[in-house]
């Protein structure tokens, strides 16, 4: 066979993809439930200059394993490089870069909103539309609990912000893969 025959790879056909995807990624990590694991992950992000948008940690069905869910901006960092660096941590067992349409992702938020006599009804109406619950009330405020994907919570926030948000607390995203309908 001679060089340049069709069976060989033409160098000009070789391409690389940009590492940046331009969207937010939800990474779901299974990590060993041991002291210091979170510090290792946080330290990795800070020394490599990666930003974490949100981070949640909690138990899984297996007491030896914790789940860590984080969102990372794929427009700023090559997600591939982030996951490969995470994989180098010995205590990180598994990483899933969750596919948006194959994933159910939720976060919970609580808003303490200024609620005057005039605005109270409107806030409660918004809460109803967004299927949020009023969980605390005072003479001047209402506290609303809402669960949903990030977009829904952002939308709710936009609606009630004009009323005056005294305090807000958001959990960050937790996510789980969708089952196939026939599974």
């Amino acid at each position: 066979m001679e060089a340049g025959t069709p069976d060989l790879i033409k160098l000009e056909d070789l391409q690389v993809e940009s590492g940046l995807t331009g969207r937010k990624h939800v990474l779901s990590l299974q990590v060993e439930n041991r002291p210091g694991v979170l510090a290792r992950i946080a330290g990795l992000f800070s020394r490599r200059g990666f930003n974490i948008d949100t981070l949640t940690v909690g138990p899984t069905e297996d007491p030896d394993i914790s789940r860590l869910t984080m969102t990372v901006d794929g427009a700023l960092h090559p997600i591939d490089q982030v996951t490969k660096q995470l994989h180098k941590l010995v205590n990180v067992i598994k990483i899933r870069d969750m596919e948006p349409d194959q994933t159910i992702a939720r976060e919970m938020a609580m808003f303490k909103v200024t609620a005057s006599v005039e605005s109270r009804a409107e806030i409660m109406q918004f809460a109803e539309i967004f299927r949020a619950d009023v969980i605390d009330v005072s003479r001047r405020t209402l506290t609303v609990e809402i669960t949903g994907d990030t977009g829904k919570i952002d939308a709710f926030e936009r609606m009630i912000r004009p009323h005056g948000v005294v305090e807000m607390a958001r959990t960050g995203v937790v996510a789980i893969g969708r089952s196939r309908p026939d599974a």
Partner: protein, 559 residues
């Protein structure tokens, strides 16, 4: 059995014969156990020395190097060596004493959170909180340190736990680490694609690094390089993986590499990177690095691939596994080797126009490059050379032709001044039958000169050839070239008197100031029993060339 004794048993089960270290309060139980254990302990004079000695031992032998230190300052003194080991992927296990468990978190005497401090610079670390974990942790530590991409592992043991009584059961077999499964076997489909691209390349360069040395794959690397007449270059960490001199050898690449090597990278159409990580000292200005090339990147650490330079054909795997497969896939294509002739004509032009060279003195003055040539001649290229960091290191990489791997031991990634002497001590312990020479810089050597005592006390006959230019030479060079010659704090002067200092430590000290005597001095040093220092006075203000200025491209080499 006392946990500290179990620790020694576990170390012996891993094949440990030598440990470098210093005792202190928190690791007293370990040293008490060491008293009867069949492990030779080399007491260094500073924990940093123990750490670098463990690295030198590992780099010279391929075995895991081990260093001990006590808690607090003992442990923090190891930090530079640990950082050095992670940058150069050196298989090492560092075992530190920690204060008693009831004192942890109370700012107790000599307490430092060494696991926390070293988190960013270890491959992995273990904090023992149950003495029964010790044997298993040791087994896991050695496995992690020595497999995949090697690196440093830290084991921190509180003093009271190492005194506890435990049942010792040896840990054997592959440890069960669900989050640690190095991929050693290269994907054959990727290897085939790589072979087909290589067979179609008209201007290839094979660019190898320290990963070849770590994988003990120099033979496999050479075989691949010789399947056709591929031009070969190596990083400072890879020197020796391909024999120098050789008619396929372009010399080292990078900031102080040869023009031929850097220009070849610049004009290459395909670069095969093996166990190398496209460090900034290699690429120079990243956006102008090898602009015409496609990249095949072979590395055991997937995170290195496409980290700095995007790889067109990534191959994750151990070089020892991947290279023979790539060789046979390539050979099966029966490519026409004559396609490389034009390329070699081009390279030969550069080699002819830009050979490495320097202007020798016309009087008795010793040019630093001349000193390296003398070292090569006297050792016949057969010594293990350790080095400090700076001009002398780069001159040695340029002018000393390393015929095989593990003969050149230096601090490449972290660039740790003072690495050379303790590394030489470690290398000599690992390879007592080889001549071990530390090529030192005067700025570097004074940082670790307490280790003269280690070599004297343990009768470790290392030879130090000191390239004495009275300056932090590389920093002086940068101040001359890029900071308008404003020499800020770079003069070392004539202190210490190195011959007297060597003698004070029980070494033989010699001085050489005449070009005509340099080879005889070195020869005498090698023939003299025990550790010997030769203080070689070289030109004070010589610059190391050629050079890619920081942030510039290969095309912009100066000197």
């Amino acid at each position: 059995m006392r946990a500290a004794d179990a620790l020694c048993e576990a170390l012996k089960a891993e094949g440990v014969k030598h440990v470098f270290g210093i005792p202190g309060g928190a690791n007293l139980p370990t040293y008490d156990a060491l008293y009867d254990a069949d492990i030779e302990h080399i007491q260094t004079r500073h924990e940093q020395g123990a750490g670098h000695a463990a690295e030198g031992y590992a780099k010279a032998s391929g075995k895991v190097g081990v260093a001990f230190a006590t808690s607090g300052p003992g442990a923090t003194n190891l930090v530079t060596a640990i950082a050095d080991a992670v940058m150069d992927s050196v298989p090492t296990v560092f075992i530190t004493g920690q204060v008693r468990t009831d004192l942890i978190g109370t700012d107790g005497f000599q307490e430092a959170d060494v696991t926390g401090i070293t988190l960013p610079i270890v491959k992995h670390s273990f904090m023992v909180d149950d003495p029964r974990q010790i044997p298993e942790y040791v087994h896991e530590a050695f496995y992690i340190a020595s497999t995949g991409r090697p690196g440093p592992v830290l084991l921190d043991i509180p003093q009271d736990l190492s005194r506890a009584d435990i049942e010792y059961e040896p840990s054997t077999g592959t440890p069960d680490l669900p989050g640690y499964k190095p991929s050693l076997e290269g994907n054959i489909k990727q290897i085939r694609i790589a072979a087909k691209a290589l067979a179609n390349s008209k201007r290839p360069v094979i660019y190898g690094g320290g990963g070849i040395v770590n994988a003990n794959a120099a033979e496999e690397f050479r075989t691949l390089c010789r399947t056709d007449r591929f031009p070969v270059t190596l990083t400072v960490m890879g020197l020796g993986a391909f024999p120098a001199p050789d008619d396929q050898w372009l010399g080292m690449l990078g900031m102080h590499g040869t023009r031929s090597a850097n220009y070849a990278m610049d004009e290459a159409d395909l670069i095969v990177a093996v166990g190398a990580r496209f460090d900034d000292r290699i690429t120079g200005k990243l956006s102008e690095f090898a602009p015409r090339a496609k990249f095949i990147h072979i590395d055991v650490d997937p995170a290195e691939i496409s980290k700095n330079v995007p790889a067109h054909i990534p191959i994750v795997g151990d070089a020892k596994d991947v290279l023979p497969k790539l060789t046979s896939e390539y050979e099966a294509l029966q490519p026409d080797g004559s396609r490389l002739e034009e390329w070699w004509k081009r390279i030969a032009e550069w080699q002819r126009e830009h050979p490495l060279g320097y202007e020798d003195s016309t009087d008795s003055e010793i040019k630093p490059q001349r000193m390296i040539e003398a070292m090569y001649k006297i050792t016949e290229g057969g010594a293990v050379i350790t080095s400090d960091v700076g001009q002398h290191q780069m001159w040695c990489a340029q002018y000393y032709d390393f015929p095989e791997p593990r003969r050149w031991i230096n601090s490449g990634g972290l660039g740790t001044m003072g690495f050379g002497l303790p590394a030489a001590i470690g290398a000599k312990v690992a390879r007592p039958d080889d001549t071990v020479v530390c090529l030192a810089g005067d700025g570097s050597l004074v940082m670790v000169c307490q280790e003269f005592a280690t070599a004297a006390a343990h009768k470790i006959p290392v030879k130090v050839f000191l390239m004495n230019n009275g300056h932090f030479g590389m920093v002086r060079q940068w101040q001359e070239l890029f900071w308008d010659g404003r020499y800020s704090s770079v003069v070392m002067g004539d202190s210490p008197d190195w011959v007297k200092l060597a003698e004070a430590f029980g070494w033989t000290g010699m001085r050489c100031t005449d070009k005509g005597e340099i080879e005889d001095s070195m020869k005498t040093a090698l023939e003299t029993d025990g550790p010997v220092l030769v203080d070689v006075h070289v030109t004070q203000e010589e610059n190391c060339y050629p050079m890619i200025p920081a942030g510039a491209a290969a095309r912009d080499m100066v000197g």
